[in-house]
Symmetry: C2
Subunit: 397 residues, 2 copies
């Protein structure tokens, strides 16, 4: 008998995390992480609210508090959900340690070994890792520019009666940057209702839109309470606080609360109060507008440089928001091998393979544009372009 549980045989370290270790090299320009720009963190406001919370409510901020979370913060989240056109109440909000914890809990609540998770192809690596610890299997559904292809999704549901939920990132998906159309969102709800399936809607980037019109959250179209919405302040405020949330109907949310209690009792009292005080006193929308203005410039510059420097065989998405551009290269390119050369040339990206839970896709990469300044985007994409052109040179001879 192994000393460890069965699940430990299937869990491996995140490749991205291993890659991020490589990117500590001096002078290396990294498009590998998914980090927000630290120069935009609201430090002065944070200093003010932190002082205020400790001064006025220190004893409560340092004490144990409820599993569900700080009620005024949950009410602020109700307000943010209304921007996604979701009507809800604080009683349907649970505070989590970032939305990663919401992903873990979703696995814990719904998945038995060999249950099926239906996801987009590619899908978010952090979700794949979280669900994997519950020994599930994945069925990837092909997407086009409007979301999952609905005929393939329905066939996948029919073929997999032990499918438990459909996991999607409908806005500026990580890693593809793609966004679901309103039609597809509506069709998804119809299918989930027809087959009595849960939808896990993971939306960390929805408020970071640089062009086009905002679309209602899938949760806002939910007619039977089948959608679990995961949100976070990591991309709109700061990830270091570890504040995310789950929004779900009563029966389902109660399961998340029970699991939260058994997992770590509660999210940090002081961080919840500080964020809530920030939302009382400052306008997060104004802050988000500032993020958008900076990130839009970086996205535009990266796309422009890719257009100029990348070989014509490289295809890539043009995301309307979020943090990522997704690149598809000719099939002979192995981006894992390319990454080694790239690091030698002081530029880094994430090879796309890890985002496919089942297939062994080697010719894709994810580029992040939020965490590097304009100068570095300029230089870094040039470096990457040179490398890609070299790789594809034999073909062009």
């Amino acid at each position: 008998m192994s000393r460890y549980s069965e699940r430990m045989t299937t869990i491996k370290a995140s490749e991205i995390r291993e890659i991020l270790k490589l990117t500590q090299i001096e002078g290396l320009i990294s498009f590998a992480g998914g980090l927000p720009a630290p120069e935009l963190f609201p430090l002065e406001a944070m200093e003010a609210v932190s002082k205020e919370v400790i001064h006025n409510d220190g004893k409560l901020a340092l004490q144990y508090s409820t599993t569900e979370g700080f009620k005024p913060l949950r009410n602020h989240i109700v307000n943010r959900m209304s921007k996604m056109q979701v009507k809800t109440t604080y009683e349907n909000i649970l505070i989590t340690n970032g939305s990663q914890q919401g992903l873990d809990f979703s696995g814990k609540i719904f998945l038995d070994p060999d249950d099926i998770v239906i996801c987009e192809s590619p899908s978010y690596l952090g979700a794949i890792n979280a669900f994997n610890t519950y020994q599930c299997q994945f069925r990837e559904v092909e997407t086009d520019d409007y979301g999952m292809k609905m005929d393939i999704l329905e066939q996948t549901i029919i073929d997999n009666p032990n499918a438990k939920f459909i996991y999607i990132v409908p806005d500026f998906q990580n890693p593809s940057g793609k966004t679901w159309s309103l039609n597809r969102r509506e069709e998804l709800i119809t299918l989930a209702n027809k087959y009595d399936l849960i939808i896990i809607e993971d939306n960390p980037y929805g408020e970071l839109r640089y062009e086009g019109e905002s679309l209602p959250a899938v949760k806002s179209l939910d007619t039977k309470g089948c959608v679990v919405y995961l949100g976070t302040f990591s991309k709109t405020f700061a990830p270091g606080l570890r504040i995310g949330w789950v929004c779900a109907e009563d029966e389902i949310l109660n399961k998340y609360i029970l699991i939260k209690q058994a997992s770590d009792l509660q999210t940090s009292s002081i961080n919840q109060r500080e964020l809530s005080a920030y939302l009382d006193k400052y306008d997060l929308d104004t802050h988000i507008k500032k993020l958008i203005s900076v990130y839009k410039v970086r996205r535009d510059l990266m796309l422009d440089m890719m257009h100029k420097s990348f070989p014509k065989q490289a295809k890539y998405t043009v995301p309307e928001g979020g943090l990522f551009i997704w690149v598809e290269l000719p099939e002979q390119i192995d981006t894992n091998a390319l990454m080694v050369k790239a690091v030698k040339n002081k530029v880094a990206f994430v090879p796309g393979g890890s985002f496919f839970p089942n297939s062994d896709t080697k010719n894709t990469m994810r580029l992040n544009f939020s965490n590097m300044n304009e100068k570095n985007i300029l230089i870094g994409i040039k470096r990457l372009g040179i490398l890609l052109n070299e790789e594809l040179l034999p073909e062009r001879k």
Copy 2:
């Protein structure tokens, strides 16, 4: 097929949590929680370090950071572990969201459904809840004043070849207040080595000793790397930060790091830096001495009042440290029913039944003395004494 995973059928809300809701009644004196005294939180120091961290390292404090945790904090913990006579390095420390998360991860890493957890009888409710989510079974081992009875423990191990670990709180146990002797600690290591079992040593209260001499942590006696030590700052600093840790040998700690990454990526960057700055600048030992001086008075007063007010048939432990006194009443007393009467009389405790994962023990209760001031301890124990005497009156007639 159920919409939820199998594990959800066995999980129920913590009874303590439900009880704590009752104790919000005005004028009610509660010995039910396990909360530290908020009037002793180091608020001024917290205000100073919080300002310093945001001012000097704000961008790093609000950004994502490593899964393992903030290295200077891990080094501070190495220093604290040395007070428990454990020699370790920062590389063997993982920061968790309180030690409750360490409990959850222990279940996740070691337990498959129907695996056996060997625990003290009674055992800590939070651990029982955490392990339960991995569908394990429990074998309770009787304790005396020196720890588990070793002959019973060995027979339990022999009878349960699928036992995965032995879970213990060796110092001032929650709920019993009991402490393991040095001999028993050594015998435990010998048995664990003999049968190749993991020991989960949960030690939230070890530094809160009011009399007698400190004993080395079980981890300090570990010769083959079989002990996983769970620590926390919740009782010595403040629970609202949610900072605990796991200390284990390389191979095992790596499993905890993988699970941490999949569960919530990392513990709050800012809280880790604030606590680390506090430990740089202030003397936690001086603070702990202050806690000890206050808690010792409360313990002594509670024991004194129990001696004066409780009927002679009530037996109770005299803990040398920690937060709890454990009461055993005559068998005809059902403390769940008693609790309803107690709340009507504006005093509360935790009925002991929940601390026994298998048996249906109704005649016990746990009393907390850290969270109520002297006046309330005086009045509250009197109220409880009157109630207990009434309950036992028919017997005395």
